[in-house]
């Protein structure tokens, strides 16, 4: 078995593990390093021994391609983020709105776009470092409402089976810009073939279907709309 080393944005890590557990790729062992996309990007630029990079956005993979660290041909859009408004406590504890930081997270940009258009002004944002943290702000009760990823809510439900994680309002995808999650193969990888197998695995329809189950949308489901 060949081991490939995948750098994955932390909000996708559990998802990737679930996918691989359910249907392992023959002949390939996947080693996962999770961190924020920004950290992973810096590490790759400075010689990290990763074979594949699955980012939570599209800016960083494309920057890697432009700077010559990743191959253009390997670029895939493996998932699209899906947002929901989540307010687990009916009676508002405060007027804080938790979203991911829009300065560097596409989830955050999309959340802010939606909230600015739909929430009553002025909006008291609190910014999570990533979409998971925005979720935690609400979950811990410190913010009464949040714009969070559906995938996070589903993951939380899977972990605890608590019904509160299912009582969210899905936001129609037309009301925010696309949250494109792209992946690339790192040029310096010596296991290009295996890496390509992983990319293929992510894009086959069974995987993509499962992603939809786990709270993402996919290029196909998008197109089909």
């Amino acid at each position: 078995k060949e081991t490939i080393h995948v750098a994955v944005a932390s909000n996708f890590k559990t998802v990737l593990q679930t996918l691989l557990q359910d249907s392992p790729i023959p002949g390939i062992q996947v080693k996962i390093s999770a961190a924020s996309s920004g950290v992973l990007y810096s590490q790759i630029v400075h010689g990290a021994p990763f074979d594949v990079f699955l980012s939570a956005d599209d800016v960083r993979p494309q920057a890697l391609i432009k700077e010559g660290f990743a191959s253009q041909s390997s670029l895939i859009t493996y998932a699209l983020g899906e947002l929901a408004v989540w307010q687990p406590n009916a009676n508002k504890v405060n007027n804080k709105v938790a979203i991911a930081n829009p300065r560097f997270s596409p989830y955050g940009q999309a959340s802010e776009f939606y909230a600015n258009a739909n929430f009553k002004k002025p909006i008291n944002y609190v910014y999570g470092n990533n979409i998971t943290q925005a979720f935690q702000f609400v979950q811990s009760g410190n913010a009464s409402v949040g714009v969070v990823a559906v995938s996070t809510l589903k993951m939380a439900f899977n972990n605890s089976q608590a019904p509160q994680y299912l009582s969210y309002n899905l936001i129609p995808s037309s009301e925010y810009p696309e949250i494109i999650q792209q992946g690339v193969i790192i040029k310096s990888s010596k296991k290009l073939a295996s890496a390509q197998k992983l990319m293929d695995f992510l894009m086959i329809s069974s995987t993509q279907l499962k992603l939809v189950e786990l709270g993402y949308r996919t290029k196909d489901s998008n197109a089909s709309k």
């Binding site: 504890v93 405060n94 300065r103 560097f104 913010a143």
Partner: protein, 225 residues
């Protein structure tokens, strides 16, 4: 330099200063008691004080987030007391920093108290100086190098605090967006030039603060001892 960076700088210095001063006020009497205590629980107490060091700041922040939540008894108590919420507020960050930097202030003080030559204290007791006078006018002056060291560690450590503020701060400009968070934002948004600039300024300012501190510290004790 960005206006927001300036705000962050000011906020950071304020936070570090308040934290270090509050910690000194709290730690000096506790360290004094602890250094004098000879019971069998001594090593346990000393280890207990070092505990906040051991938990990674992010995790410490996570637990504090839970503690601060309006759904938690402490959060409720605080709200009842002050009418404000701790999470995402400057006060909350101060409280977090107090936990976080406690060991760095406590340890040098305990070690310092232990090293003060007992004969000075005994001479002062025999002179008929009350406990109070001895503490303030003899022991504290003799302890100055350690107090300086404790303040410097507490101050500098709070300047560089990141994981904890990230967790409980919510990245709110002027309230909880300290320099370390601003820096992280720059790095995450691949805005390295801004990051370099800000970190240089941070280094320069803290260097200046510490030089002044050590100079001051020296001029009081160094010459005479």
């Amino acid at each position: 330099m960005l206006q927001s960076d300036l705000t962050a700088l000011w906020l950071t210095v304020k936070l570090a200063f308040i934290t270090a001063v509050l910690l000194l006020v709290f730690c000096i009497p506790v360290a004094y008691k602890l250094a004098g205590y000879k019971g069998k629980f001594k090593p346990f107490l000393e280890a207990l004080i070092a505990m906040p060091l051991v938990l990674p700041p992010t995790l410490l922040g996570f637990y504090l987030l839970v503690l601060f939540s309006p759904t938690h008894a402490f959060g409720q108590f605080w709200f009842w007391l002050t009418g404000t919420q701790l999470a995402f507020s400057f006060q909350g960050v101060v409280i977090g920093s107090l936990f976080y930097s406690l060991p760095f202030v406590m340890q040098p003080l305990v070690a310092g108290f232990k090293q003060i030559n007992h004969t000075y204290n005994e001479a002062a007791i025999a002179l008929g100086l009350s406990h109070f006078k001895r503490f303030f006018y003899l022991i504290l002056p003799l302890l100055k190098p350690s107090i300086g060291s404790a303040f410097a560690l507490g101050f500098a450590h709070t300047l560089g605090e990141f994981g904890l503020v990230l967790m409980i701060g919510g990245n709110i400009q002027g309230e909880t967006q300290v320099v370390s968070i601003a820096l992280y934002d720059h790095v995450e948004s691949l805005n390295y030039a801004a990051a370099h600039q800000l970190s240089l300024i941070l280094l320069a300012i803290s260097f200046a603060c510490l030089v002044l501190l050590f100079k001051f510290n020296k001029s009081i004790v160094g010459v005479k001892q």
